[in-house]
Each structure stands twice: as C-alpha cells, then as structure tokens.
C-alpha cells in the first residue's frame, strides 16, 4: 500500500521520513543557515581588521566557510536526488508535483482555504500537504539554481575539471548581455527567495505543529508522523461524538 494512502487513527503514527531524508533535511538546514550568515558577511564584510596579513586570514575563512557549506549543500542535493529513486513515495514528493490530479488540486485549494481561515479544519496528509509540496518543489528548484549560480561564480576561470564544467554559467551571463557580476546578482536573487521560503517554512511548521492535526517537527527528527489523538481533536468531532452518543442513547 502506498504510504501516502494510509489513514491512521488518532494517536497512531506512520514512518514517513526515512533516515536519508531526515539527514539531508538537517544538513541543508545547517548549510543554508551557514550560507546565509557567511554570504551576508561576504556582501557586507564585518568591520575592517588591522594587522599583519601574513597571519590573519579572517575574511578568507568566511569565504572558505561559504564555499565549504555550498559544496556540502550541492553534494547533499545531489544525494537527495539520487535517494528519490530508492526511497519511499514521500521522498519523491518534492521532485514531482502531481498537479494533473484532481485530488491534488482539491487538496491544494483546501490548504489555501485552511490558511485563509475559511476552512475550519485542515486535511490530514501523511506526506507533504499539496501547498507545502508545491513550495518544497520551488525551494528544491531554487536550491539547485543556487548550486549552479554559486558554482558558476566559484569556478569562473578556474581550470580544474570541476571548474571547467561550470564555465557555461558565466558564458550564459555573457551571452545574455552581462558579465560575471550578473551571476553574483542571480545568486543573490535566489537568496532572496530562499530567505522568504525559510521564514515561511519555519512559521508554517510551528503553526501546523500547534494547530494542525498531525505532528511536524518531531516527524523530521524520528520520521514518524502521528495523527494527534485527543489533545488537538477538533471540538466539532467532540460534539459529533457526543451527539452520536446522544443518538445512541435515544
């Protein structure tokens, strides 16, 4: 049975995020945080130091940090892509958005209504909810885009095999009428998207943890998605239950 079709009872859980997915998630989370901070420092270097440049390598370390984090991110993204072929259905969700399915589209609309406070009750999804799935898909695209622009900047006129294979990024910038600094600009613009994504992602996860009907944060640590039992059970269900009992009694 497809893992996405399991409908667990309240209080029950399903193992959705396999270890590689979780490891990938927290790795890139750390990388992105590091990249944000080091990237900001590269764009806006900290207050100038003074001293013997033979011994100080302060800014060089910041850049090196950015490079290393970027490399880890790129490798993690590559591994994640590979894992999608071996992992469960949830692991493929962020790469394929089944927008052609009516059920998906209905869920997508339902999610938007839930976030606009029109629907009083969210759907239960074992994987990502459709709205989140679309957002994850864009974020993954952006991540690859950041890897390409970042490696483009990194390898411009480097002559290793790796560098040469990313020269096309800079040539693309030239062929579009700009130069290497455009690559930096494109990289920054991707960063702007990622900042927005991360802010919304973190907020949504916390919100869902509190208001939604399944677990979120713990799922990414132990992999199990629980449907909340009674604690967050909807009052309508309580009432429905009560009414049901009432009916029985009559």
């Amino acid at each position: 049975m497809n893992i996405l079709d399991i409908k667990p009872k309240p209080g029950q859980g399903v193992y959705v995020y396999e270890f590689p997915v979780r490891a990938w998630h927290w790795t890139i989370a750390a990388c992105i945080f590091t990249l944000f901070v080091s990237g900001f420092c590269i764009a806006h270097p900290p207050q100038s130091l003074t001293g013997d440049p033979t011994r100080i390598f302060h800014f060089g370390h910041i850049i090196m940090t950015h490079y290393i984090a970027g490399m880890i991110l790129a490798i993690a993204m590559l591994c994640r892509l590979v894992w999608a072929f071996f992992g469960n259905a949830v692991s493929r969700q962020i790469f394929i958005v089944p927008f052609w399915r009516k059920s998906w589209r209905d869920g997508f609309v339902g999610d938007i209504k839930w976030y606009l406070f029109i629907n009083k009750k969210p759907d239960i999804n074992m994987g990502h909810n459709p709205l989140a799935q679309a957002a994850m898909f864009l974020a993954v695209l952006c991540m690859f885009y950041m890897c390409f622009t970042g490696l483009g900047v990194y390898s411009a006129k480097g002559y290793s095999a790796l560098s040469r294979s990313f020269h096309f990024m800079e040539n693309l910038a030239y062929n579009l009428g700009g130069n290497g600094i455009d690559l930096v600009l494109w990289h920054r613009m991707g960063m702007i998207f990622l900042v927005a994504f991360v802010m919304i992602h973190v907020y949504m996860v916390i919100r869902e943890e509190i208001m939604g009907r399944t677990t979120m944060i713990s799922t990414m640590t132990n992999g199990v998605r629980m449907v909340k039992a009674t604690l967050m059970q909807d009052w309508r269900d309580v009432r429905a239950e009560a009414e049901g009992r009432e009916g029985q009694a009559k």
């Binding site: 100038s48 800014f59 060089g60 411009a156 700009g178 702007i192 927005a196 309580v238 009992r245």
Partner: protein
C-alpha cells in the same frame, strides 16, 4: 600605392642599425614576455627575418579615441617601433597623414593590395539607429566602411570595450543603437581586447603575437585574447592579502586607505573583472587603478556601465520602471514576508484561541450533557 618591395622586419631592423646580436636578444625577450619556451625565440627570429610587415587597417567608429591613445603609450615594444618596424599601419584616422579622398584612397588601396592578409583593427562600434547616420564617414554610414574593411580581412581585432561589448554609447538606454563588432561581423575571426581603454602592452602584445607567429592567438569562450583575460583582477591584485585578511578601506583616506587595504567595500569590481591590470600594469608598469586607491570600475567587462553604482558591489535590479539595488529588494521581500507572517500568526492565534474556546465549551457541554444523560439513566 607604390609597388611593394619585399622588406622583412629583420631587414628593417638591420637598416635601422640594430645588430644581429641585439635582434636575437629582442626575439628571446619577446618569447619570454609572451610566456613561450626559450626555444621558440628562434621561431620568432625566423619569422621576423622572412616576413614583410603586417598590414593593419585601423578604423574608428563611435568611440572616444582612447584606444588609439592607449596604443601609442605602449612601452615594450615602443609604439614608434610597432608603427615603423613591425606593422604597416596603412589606415588610422588619428595618425595618418592623408585626409579627405586621399585618406579614402589609402583605405581602398590598402584593402585591395593586401586582400586576405591584413588585420582590420576596429576601435569603437557602429550605430544602427538613424540608418547608421549617427556616425558618418565620407558622407555614408560608418557601418559601410566596417563592412568593406571586414570583407577582405584576415581577422578582425576589436579594440577596447566599445568594439568588444558596446561600452558607454551602448549603455542604457543606448540612444544610437550602438552595436559591438562581433554582433555585426560573423564570417571572420573577431579577437576582443576589451578595456576602456585596453592596456597598451596588451594591445601591442596582440600585434606582436600575430606578427611573430603569423597566426591568431588563443581566445577564450568570449573571444578574448586568452593570455591576458584569463584571470580576475582580484586574483592578481596587490591588495589581495588584505582582502583575505579582512582588512578593508572603510571610507576614503582613512587609516586603512593609508595602509593600502582592500577596496572591496568601496565597490571594487575586481572580483568579477577579467583583465591583466595588476600584472601588466599601466604606462610602463607604474600603477593600476586599485594600487592608486580607486576601486576597479570593471571597464573590460561587458555592460560595465549598467551595473549600478561604481561604489557598490551590489548590482541594481530593474524593477517597475526604476532601478533598485538587490539589497533593497531583499530587505523589501524579507520585510514583507515578516509582516505577512506576523499578521498571519496573530490571526492564527486569535483563530486558535477562539477554536479552543469553542472546543472547551463543546467539551463542557458534552460533559454536562453526558452528566444529564447519566442522571437520566440513573433516574430511570
């Protein structure tokens, strides 16, 4: 034009009083300077001994003549030696003696006499606006001269950023529709020597390379002379150590500036500019912009006038009808998202508390109801 006497560079040098010993020394220095194996010095000597001077036709479109000015600043080889000994500069608006139709004749003669053998050196670029009549030459669009010159050329050299990329007149909004040479000439090799202007010795290095080896030099993917445009200014910079150390000029003439710290924070474009400035330097190796305290403008790069302020590393992004820096856009997006999240969170809290209240009420009611039912059952 007079009948060509077959005189080689070597003859010329000998006639000018250069001894064979000095000549060979010159050849080995040229080899060293071009980064060639010492053995190739003999090739150079052989080439110069057996070939007539290279015909060069130098035409000038929309430009500021800074390329010609730069060319005559060449120190090694000296400009006068290039003009008198290495090449035959058969047409050049700024230096040639003839004018008017005699100049036009000189052009046509040079093209005919050297068809297929001459180098067409192009300074500036061609406007397409107003049927090309933003740049008139002999009563006709200058574009016609470019086409006529390119037709029989062995190769085309695009001097400077104008010819290579478009430069100032092609900067936004490009009022004359100025178009770089490589976008006009497709059937000949076009070698770009960008820079506004290019470094004098890089210009003359191209000339001596072609004269010496009788072939065109390697170019990179963008058509630039690979030997001089393969590295960023940043990677060769004398102030690079300060960059790595995190030692920056914070404002003009501050303590860091007096110690020669890195100009990155002042908007230096060195990290994305391909040129040989820090190594070859300017005007006989005296200095280059960063060494003299000003950030690199990126003048050898395509579109360098349209990258926002010269004093900021952060390029502008065209937004609705105006320009904003990437920084402003980032702040705007992050701010909007933060505000959106805050509003949504507040609404969610209110919603959640309301729901919770309703739920508690329902639970309470249910309990009461259950209690009532219980009592009823007991009563029964």
């Amino acid at each position: 034009m007079a009948k060509r006497a077959f005189e080689t560079h070597y003859d010329r040098l000998r006639n000018n009083g250069v001894s064979r010993r000095d000549f060979l020394k010159f050849c080995s220095m040229t080899a060293a300077w071009l980064g060639l194996a010492p053995a190739l010095a003999t090739n150079i000597a052989h080439a110069l001994e057996t070939k007539p001077r290279l015909p060069v036709i130098w035409i000038e479109g929309l430009s500021c003549t800074c390329c010609t000015e730069s060319f005559i600043r060449s120190s090694h080889p000296l400009a006068k030696d290039i003009i008198l000994n290495m090449i035959s500069l058969d047409y050049n608006d700024t230096l040639m003696a003839a004018a008017g139709f005699q100049a036009q004749d000189a052009f046509e003669n040079a093209v005919l006499a050297n068809a297929g053998n001459y180098i067409l050196a192009v300074e500036g670029n061609a406007p397409f606006g107003n049927d090309g009549m933003y740049c008139i030459d002999g009563g006709r669009p200058w574009l016609r001269r470019l086409e006529a010159g390119a037709k029989h050329a062995k190769a085309v050299v695009a001097w400077g950023t104008c010819a290579s990329w478009g430069c100032i007149q092609a900067a936004r909004p490009n009022p004359t529709d100025a178009t770089p040479i490589a976008h006009i000439i497709h059937d000949k090799p076009v070698i770009k020597i960008p820079g506004c202007p290019p470094i004098p010795e890089v210009m003359s290095a191209l000339v001596s390379y072609v004269v010496t080896f009788d072939r065109l030099p390697n170019v990179d993917a963008q058509g630039r002379f690979a030997a001089f445009y393969g590295q960023h200014v940043h990677d060769q910079c004398v102030r690079r150590a300060h960059f790595d150390a995190g030692e920056f000029v914070e404002e003009w003439d501050d303590d860091g500036a007096k110690k020669g710290y890195c100009l990155y924070k002042m908007g230096c474009k060195g990290p994305t500019t391909y040129n040989a400035c820090p190594n070859t330097r300017w005007n006989d190796g005296v200095s280059y912009p960063i060494e003299s305290g000003h950030p690199c403008l990126g003048c050898s790069e395509q579109d360098f006038f349209d990258q926002g302020s010269f004093y900021s590393r952060i390029k502008d992004i065209p937004t609705l009808g105006t320009m904003a820096t990437a920084e402003a856009v980032a702040a705007g997006v992050a701010g909007t998202v933060a505000v959106g999240v805050a509003i949504h969170a507040a609404t969610s809290c209110a919603f959640h508390l309301h729901e919770k209240k309703l739920k508690e009420q329902a639970v309470e009611e249910a309990k009461i109801e259950a209690g009532v039912q219980e009592e009823n059952r007991k009563d029964k």
